[in-house]
């Protein structure tokens, strides 16, 4: 356990000296928090202006599953608009670990520091867990912080507390607190696998970013109205992610072979 802590501290000490990483970790969550808050702010008086006109534009499935009783159609439209951003929040736990892992794992290649590290009595599992956690923890914390800011902003901006409770319902909580960490783990496991297989750190970083594609597909699919992210869908995604993570972590530990990494990384 102590060695895992050492690896995490080392990774953070090194990775967070890179301004690009700090920018990514800080900027992305802030941007994805400001956008939905801006939407809420811009549409806070929509009820008085648009009234019933919005009612016919909302998908009936959405109004039934998302909007509780007592929420008028304009407020329901606010919920709909903001719910579009849930998938954008899911980009945070995927993108941040890839950025960190690219420096944390593949960066060892450029500094040629992996060999002395592997010469210590650290086990492969300890090393992998340390590196995984070093990338996952900041991503999860950044996601939580972004969500916290979003919740606080919503509370300050929305007078109707029923609307607020609808915005911060189980869908969001499952997405942020369960799917988010699972996405982060998936991202790191994938980056680990890629890093173990390629010899060029730039290629590793670029290929690892492919992991964002499924999230973007989900985002655009939702915006195009192909599906509605209700509680059942999010819960199903969480279960699938759990299974996928187990598979990816297993594969990452199989692929991360000391010998192949030392002899491949010329």
């Amino acid at each position: 356990m102590n060695k895992i802590k050492t690896i995490i501290r080392k990774e953070w000490a090194e990775v967070f000296k890179n301004r690009m990483v700090i920018f990514t970790v800080a900027f992305l969550p802030l941007l994805l928090t400001a956008l939905p808050l801006g939407i809420i702010f811009a549409t806070r008086d929509a009820s008085s202006r648009t009234g019933e006109a919005l009612d016919s534009q909302l998908p009936s499935e959405m109004t039934q599953s998302m909007c509780p009783e007592g929420v008028n159609s304009a407020e329901c439209f606010q919920i709909f608009m903001v719910s579009q951003f849930m998938m954008m929040f899911m980009i945070v736990p995927v993108a941040i670990p890839v950025t960190i892992a690219a420096y944390s794992i593949v960066g060892e290649k450029t500094t040629r520091s992996l060999e002395p590290l592997l010469a210590t009595p650290i086990t492969t599992i300890e090393l992998l867990v340390g590196k995984c956690l070093a990338a996952v923890i900041p991503a999860v914390l950044a996601t939580y912080a972004a969500f916290g800011l979003f919740a606080l902003g919503s509370w300050l901006l929305v007078a109707n507390k029923m609307l607020l409770s609808a915005l911060l319902d189980a869908r969001w909580l499952i997405a942020i607190f369960i799917v988010g960490p699972l996405l982060a783990l998936m991202s790191v496991a994938f980056a680990l696998m890629v890093s173990s297989r390629v010899s060029d750190p730039r290629v590793a970083e670029q290929v690892s970013m492919v992991i964002i594609v499924p999230v973007l597909v989900g985002l655009f699919g939702q915006m195009a109205g192909l599906f509605v992210l209700n509680k059942q869908v999010i819960s199903s995604v969480a279960v699938v992610m759990l299974a996928l993570d187990a598979l990816l972590v297993y594969l990452a530990t199989r692929v991360f072979q000391r010998e192949s990494i030392l002899t491949r990384w010329k």
């Binding site: 501290r9 090194e14 500094t111 040629r112 060999e115 002395p116 210590t120 086990t123 010998e259």
Partner: protein, 302 residues
Amino acid sequence: MIHTENLTKRFKDILAVDGLSLDVAEGEVFGFLGPNGAGKTTTVRMLACLIGPTGGAATVNGFVVGKQDTDIRRNVGVLTETPGMYDNLSAEYNLRIFAELYEVKDVTGQVEKYLKMLGLWERRFDTAGTFSKGMKQKLAIARALLHEPRILFLDEPTAGLDPEAARLVRDFIAELKKEGRTIFLCTHNLDEADRLCDRIGVFKTHMLVVDTPANLRRTMFGRKVVFHLREAGEGSAGVLRTMPFVREVKVVENKLLVTVDDPETHNPEIIRALVNSGAEVQFVGELRHSLEDVYLQLVKNV
């Protein structure tokens, strides 16, 4: 301390190490010489449990390679071919990380000890990236010693260093030798190997020869003694050629170049014979072949 038996490593179609059998005793400095691509680093990596052998067996400090790898890593220090420091972190933090990973009890004390010993204490808060190559190499040596291993694998410790830095590193290795540590030294620097090593193995995929530097010279080239005379000629050479222990005599200007097996025993007789024949001996010296001559002769013949 280090024992290998038919140790072999194959990478697909490439045979990197072919049946290496070797014993290195406790406290010995063993020089492992060979051209680039000979398999020296692969051997060190196998013995330090960084990669696994594909054949044969090895024990390091009594632990079996491939079965007790973590125990071996805990008991050996490895200086890798490149220092591989974390350039964004301070020298002190670089060492602290490794002290913790090596489970050192007094992390602060050991880090301080080696930073001071290698003259890096004043620069301890500077990032490793600002260090010169020599300083990085010293830092890497400190890193390999933090857990006080009795066995050290040093892979090209002076490669690419300027003469002053190389000398500092060599002097430090000599100090480690005095402490009785077992040192497995991979090097291209033959003068360094000659000065530091008790025994030398010349390696090119398989071991070509293992012996002390002095024995290698003797075996490969015999021992030559130069007799400077006031006037050297075939007369004096003829006198020596009649002596049974003299293997060869050459006349070069006013010198006689004499090959004998045991100069310490036979030189007095040779001098006596020369003086009795009327020659005036001005001085006598041994013509030393360098280890480089031995090495090149061996590698050339493979």
